[in-house]
Symmetry: C2
Subunit: 233 residues, 2 copies
DNA sequence: CAGTGGTCTAGACCACGGT
DNA sequence: CCGTGGTCTAGACCACTGT
């Protein structure tokens, strides 16, 4: 007789996925409600809920109270990018990580930087430029603006010995961030730091991190030519 | 008297988050088990479970059976990238989307392409190069390899009228993909298509999409200079 | 072995939002 | 109004794994 283990939420998710892919539940169409599926699959409604919620988070279903659940027309794919802490990323690859402070300069921030950070123009900031090395070779050139109003301790930090990236991650609790990825041509400073030709195509990642209301830092990290950021979806 | 509504899973998550940020639960330390927290917060264990599972998925907690739950040392931040369907992305910005087929050529795939797609060297593929326009201006130059063995219908597709991107999304059920982001210097073909200077720094996104076992397509999309891909975390 | 998280259940109440 | 998903509960069994 059926000594099957129970129909778990992953089974429910897989079966729903199968029906979506098989066009058994066509794009844009309503699917049966949770109670009916629970009855059909011989499990509790909570189990169906967990499964369908998972698919909804993955972007395959749209769920609305009273409106029911329907298959999304064009499944928008989402990929999860892990934002690397450079040092960890390098070490994880089995390479040795090096760090060199290039420049540290307190002073008023440029208007554009202050605006992006939600600060009054001319607010006093700390600019830090540094280079990360991987097995001795230039890996990432980092141009950072720090907001001392949000993190006073950075003014006393020995940035020649500790990289801001690692220190912030372990000592400042930020709540959210904005991220932008792009490509830029290496200017003199970048080319000099990364030891590449001026004008080289460089992958750049810009981040602004915030506490509840204050910007902590705006940083742009320029990766040595050829770098590729990889993930799956 | 306490007419408070019940202590829901989001309340539990917020309180746990507060304790983590306040170093009330220090990095690396074990936190109380679910049963204890449920008792303390006056809710069911399932509610605590939902809250802590959420924080674990966010990368703030590590949970192991019997091992308990501990605060992650260096909260690895994750950002979710939405992989754009170019046409939709353009239209969503309120711009008009244009599409032009540049080249369509069946033939054996280069060794490197076949290798990346997990195919035997020299497998017959279909190469399609196309340009997406935003309000008439070059936006994305797309260089694509399609595997007819996985999607025979592409051979009969009128790629001059339909862009492969949109068609695939709506007609092929893929299961997973690999993604790589980087910067490249525009070669002649790219510069010509995007109407930029050769050597310009161009943001490139490469994707390989798979069904259960077969590669469907390998595509590299080159964005016009200045493009930034944005998200939050 | 024993403690912890992972999951399922049956039932209940509620919030939202089409009709 | 009333159907649907969102969530909570109390209890139970199980899977994994540290000790």
């Amino acid at each position: 007789m059926p000594s099957e283990t129970s129909f778990g939420w992953q089974d429910a998710r897989d079966e729903a996925l199968r029906r979506i892919r098989a066009r058994d539940w066509p794009p844009g169409e309503l699917i049966p409600n949770e109670a009916d599926l629970a009855a059909e699959w011989g499990c509790a409604r909570a189990t169906v809920n967990r499964a369908l919620r998972d698919l909804a988070e993955a972007g395959l279903l749209e769920r609305r109270r009273k409106g029911g659940t329907r298959v999304v027309l064009t499944p928008l794919r989402k990929a999860t990018l892990e934002i690397p802490v450079i040092r960890q990323e390098v070490v994880a690859r089995g390479a040795t990580h090096g760090y060199a402070l290039i420049d540290r300069a307190p002073g008023p921030g440029p208007a554009e930087v202050c605006r992006r950070m939600g600060l009054a123009a001319g607010t006093g900031l700390l600019r830090v430029r540094a280079l990360h090395l991987s097995d001795g070779a230039p890996h990432v050139y980092e141009d950072r603006w720090l907001n001392p109003a949000a993190v006073p301790a950075v003014l006393d930090l020995d940035l020649a010995r500790v990289d801001a990236n690692s220190w912030l991650v372990q000592n400042v609790a930020f709540t959210r961030g904005d991220l932008a990825l792009g490509a830029v041509a290496a200017d003199a400073a970048i080319a000099d730091a990364l030891r590449c030709a001026p004008g080289s195509a460089v992958f750049a990642m810009e981040r602004i991190t915030w506490t509840a209301d204050q910007a902590i830092t705006l940083v742009t990290q320029h990766y040595a030519p050829g770098y590729r950021m990889k993930t799956s979806f």
